[in-house]
């Protein structure tokens, strides 16, 4: 099928660029590791607070860090796209018969790959701190974080194509990711939040992702919250890919 072939070609192109700059993988992991070392210890006494989820500070905090990695790791991908717009690369690709879906999906797959790789590194680094996880759980969590990466990257690309400039792209992306992150229970679980905050957070898809990831780390892979989180993200990712692909197909005037 043409879409698959084109997607593979585009993935190959951006994977090639990625593999020549592996330093980004480590820079991407650096921030969550700093959180792990400099922030997670603060949670240890809090883990005894009423309303704090069970499982210990690290099993509560690392899933949140992974979700954060998934979103922040992909939120910046639009910068490279804007540079390519300026260099005429996107225009050149749009004149070829290549599938518009592949133009988006091939790139987003590369971003997914990078985020899953970083997540795996973060999980391995967290193990000595007292994180415990089942091997099957790792697979489920990586799939979940991969979906967050796909969702965020697709939206980031759509925003980059619509704004065409770093000056508009950066504030849009960074001011919108912050509330999403704060309302997802990444830093502290939303279960200790006041009711009104929990009500607002209920419309945040990332909350369900964090929830699902925490259940996986507690060993409850069969919990309905896990399936719920995966399904919500899969559906949203699909929608985001369609929107992003349409943006690639539309005129970039």
């Amino acid at each position: 099928m043409k879409v698959l072939r084109d997607t593979w070609l585009v993935f190959g192109r951006y994977f090639g660029i990625f593999i020549h700059n592996p330093v980004w993988v480590f820079l991407g992991v650096l921030q969550p590791v700093l959180y792990l070392v400099l922030f997670a210890p603060l949670l240890k006494p809090l883990a005894a607070t009423r309303g704090f989820p069970p499982g210990g500070a690290y099993n509560v905090f690392v899933p949140g860090l992974l979700v954060q990695l998934g979103m922040f790791g992909a939120a910046g991908v639009g910068f490279s796209l804007i540079a390519e717009l300026r260099a005429g690369v996107i225009e050149r690709l749009r004149v070829t018969p290549i599938s518009r879906v592949a133009l988006l999906f091939g790139r987003a797959l590369r971003d997914m790959f990078s985020i899953v790789l970083q997540s795996l590194i973060l999980i391995l680094i967290s193990l000595p701190f007292g994180l415990s996880i089942h091997p099957l759980g790792v697979v489920v969590v990586l799939a979940l974080i991969g979906l967050i990466g796909l969702l965020t990257a697709s939206i980031a690309y759509a925003v980059a194509l619509a704004t065409k400039s770093e000056d508009s792209y950066a504030p849009i992306v960074f001011t919108s990711t912050l509330p999403i992150l704060l309302l997802s229970g990444v830093l502290l679980p939303m279960s200790i939040a006041p009711q009104w905050l929990q009500d607002i957070a209920a419309v945040n898809p990332l909350l369900y992702a964090v929830d699902a990831a925490r259940h996986v780390f507690l060993g409850n892979i069969g919990d309905p919250a896990v399936a719920k989180g995966v399904i919500i993200l899969a559906v949203l990712s699909l929608v985001a890919v369609v929107i992003g692909a349409r943006q690639f197909g539309r005129a970039v005037a």
């Binding site: 192109r13 660029i17 390519e84 225009e91 690709l93 070829t96 018969p97 970039v252």
Partner: protein, 323 residues
């Protein structure tokens, strides 16, 4: 093919494109009728913002027209954009190659996008590298290339699938004279291989030296079309450019009424006189100025160039509008 009507590769009727800009509707292209035939080098000439690039991008399927119809490479622009994409090449102003990738990788990737096998794409990339003399740079990152090397690669990317029609948007803007001559040579050799080339430029000498036919566009409309020779011939006779001490206005008014002056203009502090025969007009001009006590500072007689055509058609000089 002799005697037969040449086959059109591009045919547009009333092509237009409007943009919204701050609640205002702006017509960047306001009804363009074009006919480009197989095998010719067609030049689209005009100042920045005249609608050249917008027209080009519409014809290359990058921008949907707001109105009008077009057939490109035998296909309808509105209904068959993907068939058009298979048959055309397009080299934008910015180029289109990525700084982080080598020429070879870019050319091979481009070939794959047109459906070539990995092996065929490799062969084609090598052919183009040889043809464009990029061998020495082929495996380095594009970011290290000279302006001329990069432009040759960008053109190569547009040629990978051997298109029947190639669009070049200001192919030599920003190049040094030597690289510019190289690009001209490439365009001529494409022409020799039978490729139709549609290029935009704001260099008149480029259009003059390279193009079989030229259309001049200004404010979104075509104001003149023909071979460079035809266009120049349409400006009858010669052009005398002179300046006098003090106000040019006086010299202009004096000359305007003379029977041998077909048209007169003041432009950039010079008086331009369009006359039938410059060598006959010149002594008369000198006598008249002397008689009116106007002191001649400079005088020049030349055959009309495309710049004169442009000035005549648009009332402005292309040299001052093209930044």
């Amino acid at each position: 093919m002799d005697g037969a009507t040449p086959e059109p590769v591009i045919e547009t009727r009333g092509l237009r494109r409007a943009f919204r800009s701050r609640q205002r509707q702006v017509e960047a292209v306001a009804g363009v009728d074009l006919r480009v035939v197989r095998g010719e080098i067609f030049g689209f000439l005009g100042p920045n913002g005249a609608g050249k690039t917008t027209t080009l991008r519409m014809l290359a399927t990058l921008l949907p027209p707001s109105g009008g119809t077009a057939r490109v490479a035998g296909c309808d622009l509105a209904t068959q954009p993907s068939q058009i994409r298979e048959r055309i090449g397009y080299v934008g102003q910015a180029g289109g190659s990525d700084r982080e990738i080598s020429a070879r990788t870019e050319l091979e990737f481009q070939g794959r996008l047109y459906g070539m096998s990995a092996e065929a794409a490799r062969r084609r990339a090598q052919e183009l590298i040889d043809m464009l003399e990029l061998e020495a740079a082929a495996d380095r990152k594009v970011g290290t290339y000279s302006g001329g090397q990069k432009r040759r690669l960008d053109i190569g990317l547009g040629l990978v699938h051997d298109p029947q029609l190639l669009f070049l948007d200001e192919p030599t803007t920003g190049l040094d004279p030597q690289s510019r001559a190289r690009v001209w040579d490439e365009v001529r050799s494409m022409h020799d291989r039978g490729t139709t080339v549609f290029l935009t430029t704001h260099y008149l000498d480029e259009a003059d030296a390279l193009c079989d036919r030229v259309a001049i566009i200004d404010y979104g409309k075509i104001v003149a079309e023909g071979t460079p020779e035809e266009l120049k011939r349409a400006i009858a006779g010669d052009v005398v450019t002179l300046s006098v001490a003090g106000e040019q206005r006086a010299a202009f008014e004096l000359m305007q009424g003379q029977a041998f002056v077909r048209d007169a203009k003041v432009e950039n502090g010079f008086v331009l006189l369009y006359v039938d025969r410059g060598e006959v007009a010149m002594p008369a001009i000198l006598r008249l100025l002397d008689g009116a006590n106007l002191q001649l500072k400079t005088v020049e007689l030349h055959r009309p160039s495309l710049d004169d055509v442009f000035l005549k058609q648009t009332g402005r000089s292309l040299r001052e509008t093209a930044a």
